[in-house]
């Protein structure tokens, strides 16, 4: 066992860190303040091949390994959680399932544009009355000749505002509950498909979160992903990979806040010296640092299993659970260490604290992760 990064992985870290410092960090506070989706950053990420980093080369991706991909998400998360989730949702929740479960024709049609960042993806499972209880899906898809007709509402859809390609889950056979859910590709221009206004949130404010409405939305029947009834399986397997992405994002948030607080403690002088002389603070920083590294270990374990094609959903849940809670704790304590300045919008840690909260909620709440983990040993 070896935790050393290889040459490519190190280069990815170095490159994305520089990109994050120069292109993402300078606008992070502004896009948060204005709830503005950073289109320019998505374009830049597309230009450098980041939006298709783990996608195979024959479909226009970079053909990179999974660890490199998650390292990139972590680096983005250090300076801007919004930018990290735009990339993670696009790759893990939409590109991956279309690639993995889609037909060759679907792959050829969608993946190259998505890998190049020309088209952005959004994953649409959640409904007003169906969160974790996905069997309560009210969105229906009915086959009518060569078309499926979709009706219903999805809510809290990340990337939904600017997205071009939507992976939408809908009931094709209500009587079968979860086994009656199917997955479909819906395109932005499809008739009867309406994208709602941005929903305002506590954190990741620049990320687009919208309602989607389907009113007799007719799509060709070859937009079905997998077979009828496989939607729940597709969603769950997709979320397993997505959870590692959110864990990587949460790790980045925690590290970003830790670095900010450390710089502050080193330079802030009280009672005749820097605050790093206060053991009450440095001991707690030591605990936080340990939690951060423990999170990294869990994430790497999950990635290793996934990369080797072994079952990893348990570790995906454990790394997300642990890292999300770590991010919440680290950011909350960093605000405390920096006290008045931590609370001020002049410093980024208050934003990081607000952003950290969502990592305990989306792509399965912490409670859902505990369900997944406990189901493995009960």
């Amino acid at each position: 066992m070896n935790f050393e990064l290889n040459k490519q992985q190190e280069f990815v870290v170095k490159t994305i860190r520089k990109f994050a410092e120069n292109e993402v960090k300078p606008i992070a506070a502004e896009i948060d303040e204005n709830h503005r989706f950073p289109h320019e950053t998505v374009e830049k990420m597309g230009k450098m091949g980041l939006m298709g980093l783990p996608v195979p080369r024959e479909y226009g991706g970079a053909g990179g390994d999974l660890l490199s991909y998650y390292l990139a998400i972590e680096e983005l998360g250090k300076v801007c959680a919004t930018t990290a989730v735009i990339c993670s949702a696009h790759i893990s929740l939409v590109t991956w399932p279309i690639f993995h479960f889609g037909t060759e024709q679907q792959r050829r049609k969608y993946i190259p544009d998505m890998a190049a960042g020309r088209k952005l993806g959004a994953f649409a499972l959640t409904e007003p009355n169906a969160g974790t209880d996905s069997a309560k899906q009210e969105t229906k898809a009915v086959l009518d000749g060569d078309e499926y007709v979709l009706n219903g509402i999805k809510t809290l859809i990340t990337n939904g505002g600017p997205a071009d390609v939507f992976l939408v889950f809908a009931m094709t056979d209500k009587s079968k509950k979860n086994k009656g859910i199917s997955a479909f590709i819906v395109e932005r221009e499809d008739e009867g498909f309406f994208i709602g206004e941005n929903q305002r949130k506590m954190g990741i404010c620049a990320s687009s979160t919208v309602n989607l409405t389907f009113k007799n939305c007719r799509i060709p029947k070859d937009r079905l992903v997998g077979k009828e009834g496989q939607g729940f399986k597709i969603a769950m397997q997709t979320l397993d990979g997505g959870r590692i992405g959110i864990a990587a994002q949460a790790l980045g948030i925690a590290e970003g806040a830790f670095e900010e607080a450390l710089t502050y403690l080193k330079t802030r002088k009280q009672f005749g010296g820097p605050l790093t002389r206060m053991q009450a603070l440095t001991f707690e920083m030591a605990e936080l640092k340990t939690e951060i590294e423990a999170s990294r270990g869990l994430i790497y374990h999950a990635i290793d299993l996934k990369q080797r094609g072994l079952p990893y959903s348990e570790f995906a849940s454990m790394c997300k659970l642990h890292t999300a809670e770590t991010a919440m704790r680290v950011t909350t304590r960093c605000v405390q260490f920096m006290a008045g300045y931590g609370f001020s919008k002049d410093y980024p840690v208050e934003r990081m604290m607000r952003d950290a909260k969502v990592t305990e909620i989306y792509e399965g709440t912490s409670e859902v992760q505990k369900l997944v983990i406990s189901s493995k040993f009960i």
């Binding site: 990109f19 450098m48 080369r57 053909g63 990179g64 490199s68």
Partner: protein, 268 residues
């Protein structure tokens, strides 16, 4: 025939992190990551821009340095260069610019003998660790091709036979037209270097390493032994304190104000 471009690059200590040891006066390199020299990144970018626009352009990046200097070749290929050559030999340690330009010339000629004529050579104006700005011009002389230094803009004709360059000099610009092959040294104003592309990062890379034997060079003619110039010491400059700007609408008024200030301080 391909339009072959050579880009000379150097790995330098990250200038944001470099410190000078106050006791020895030498640069503390330990623990300081190496980066692609800033002006060389501009040189590479200009070569890549030609490749963006024209077919059949082949970019080879050449660097001389320790084994870890391969990192700059990795970065250059990740940005879009086709090939990298690392000239690495312990005998090359402490080479001055005279030796460096000789070694680069020998390597470029060896590459050309194997692959075809060189159409254009790019180099950065100077390296941030040496600040000599001598290697580019010396290399042009040794290759016996025209040189245009301090390029702040660059345009190549459609037939790729001539280039028009704006040189940024003290207080003015000079427009130059020159035929290829030629050597151009780049400055920061020339362009904005791109980020590496992930597609290139995970593709196989062609990086070759040559030692002095490969180049047919003698150990006595390179490194410290072959270098006519030797750095005796380096030391941080003492920062002057304060200072003042002499203001005034015209030169005459500024002179009068300066005179008044000097008198006020009883200097004259």
């Amino acid at each position: 025939m391909a339009f072959n471009i050579i880009v000379c690059a150097k790995q330098v200590p990250d200038s944001d992190l470099v410190r000078i040891d106050p006791k020895t006066g030498s640069i503390i390199r330990k623990g300081v990551p190496g980066v692609l020299n800033a002006d060389d990144a501009n040189a590479l970018e200009e070569a890549l821009k030609i490749k963006d626009k024209h077919d059949d352009v082949y970019i080879t990046v050449v660097t001389m340095g320790p084994p870890q200097a391969e990192e700059v070749l990795f970065e250059a290929i990740a940005k879009g260069a086709d090939e990298g050559i690392l000239i690495n030999d312990i005998a090359l340690a402490s080479s001055d610019t005279f030796v460096t330009s000789t070694v680069l010339k020998t390597a470029i000629e060896k590459w050309a003998a194997d692959n075809g004529e060189i159409s254009l050579v790019f180099a950065g104006r100077e390296a941030t660790d040496g600040d000599t700005a001598q290697v580019g011009p010396q290399l042009a002389e040794r290759l016996d091709i025209p040189q245009v230094t301090y390029a702040s803009s660059f345009e190549i004709s459609e037939d790729m036979k001539t280039v028009t360059i704006s040189r940024k000099l003290e207080g003015y610009h000079e427009e130059v037209e020159v035929n290829t092959p030629c050597l151009v040294t780049a400055i920061k104003d020339l362009n904005q270097p791109r980020y590496p592309h992930m597609h290139n990062v995970f593709a196989p890379m062609k990086i070759t390493s040559w030692n002095i034997e490969d180049l047919g060079l003698d150990a006595d003619s390179v490194g410290l032994a072959g270098s006519p110039s030797v750095v005796i010491s380096s030391f941080p400059l003492k920062k002057g304190k304060g200072g003042m700007f002499v203001e005034g609408e015209s030169g005459a008024e500024q002179a009068a104000n300066l005179l008044a200030a000097l008198k006020d301080k009883r200097i004259i």
